[in-house]
Symmetry: C2
Subunit: 204 residues, 2 copies
DNA sequence: TGTACATCAGTGAACGCGCGTTCACTGATGTAC
DNA sequence: TGTACATCAGTGAACGCGCGTTCACTGATGTAC
């Protein structure tokens, strides 16, 4: 075998991930600004000082969590939007959000909570990711024949509504709990249908 | 003069209000769960123990702030919705939100931040107030001829969209700052126009 | 393959500090007569 | 109006505790020869 790619580096990654995981768990019922660095290291079982080998402080860890929560989502969302028919696209979009909430409730809660939370760097990181989603959605819409005659500004407006509704739906699903998932999803679909109707008549 | 209605009681109210005001100022760049009781009393200039004469803890103070921020708003919103024409109603609604953000930015920021924040009692209090807003908006819509044939559920859906968009607009206005107020307001109006269009064609 | 030195993730003691809460208190305001 | 007692908003000392950060360290992993 050639060059083991670093036992040391692998172990460091493992500790870093353990810190992120422990923080995420603590963030389920606290906000970032009230979770302490010592709390996190205690949960992992390392000395408080080890924290500094990975992050400059809790804000830094928060930014890393934003990347973990949203970074890999761009591909998935782009995929859901390839659906050509309006109804089917709405169904897939809402289903995707519901699945995300089911699979990674803690990540979703973290993003919902810190989107307007007390840590500026984290707010900025979330805003940047959501802005990228909106751009991607706008690009998909722009390529469609239904968007003929639409201004760039109006397309951005529409895309923004889609993204904002996805975030609100995610947050509503979290609050509602699994037993009410279908009810909340149905409501989210009707909302998107209303927006879709508005889109169809925008240029009347 | 007959019975001075209590010097003592008046002074107590004054201290209580001072605690609320000081907390609100501290909350401009922190979240509720990270503002300390001692921080608040220090800002007011009373002993930490005086706090307990007014609130059981910071969560309790937070709930009082929710009432202060949203309690008196029901009348104002109801008024804006009396506007019969769609366009005029949208303009008045957005203008009302913009004015609220201009007049009470700290209250608005507090509500936006704690709506999904780390303190359950405060989240619940905000959710309750927003739910009441949605009910009031739904009642106004229900009374209109355009709502003929609409189910109760669909009316609630529509009202929910209105309220959610007001909250998002308020939050966007805060983030943008005064110089971008007109741009954000214009965007908010277009969004409401899209929803309004969707409403008109909902039963097609 | 073996040896000698460098790197660096994680340690553990120590620091000064502000926190929330308790308690018995003080003295101005309120009330009964 | 005057006096004697009750109430209670705010005080100040004290407590035990966990916090973030510093520092010199250790010992396993990595590297050069």
């Amino acid at each position: 075998m050639s060059h083991t790619v670093g036992i040391r580096q692998a172990q460091k990654q493992k500790t870093r991930q353990a810190l992120l995981d422990a923080a995420l768990r603590l963030l389920e019922d606290q906000s970032l600004s009230s979770v302490g660095l010592r709390e996190v290291t205690r949960a992992v079982g390392v000395a408080p000082t080890a924290f500094y080998r990975h992050f400059t402080g809790m804000a830094d860890l928060g930014v890393a969590l934003v990347e973990e929560a949203l970074g890999s989502l761009h591909a998935t969302i782009g995929e859901a939007l390839t659906e050509p028919a309006d109804e089917a696209r709405i169904d897939r979009t809402v289903a995707l959000v519901a699945e995300l909430v089911r699979t990674s409730p803690a990540h979703v809660r973290f993003v919902a909570r810190e989107q307007h939370g007390g840590v500026a760097a984290v707010r900025a990181a979330i805003g940047e990711q959501l802005g990228r989603f909106a751009d991607e959605v706008a690009a998909v819409f722009a390529a469609e024949p239904e968007s003929a005659g639409w201004s760039r500004d109006d397309l951005d407006m529409l895309a923004g509504m889609y993204v904002d509704h996805m975030v609100m739906t995610a947050s509503a699903l979290l609050e509602a709990g699994p037993e009410d998932e279908e009810r909340v999803s149905a409501l989210a679909r009707r909302r998107l249908r209303l927006v879709s109707l508005g889109r169809r008549h925008w240029l009347d």
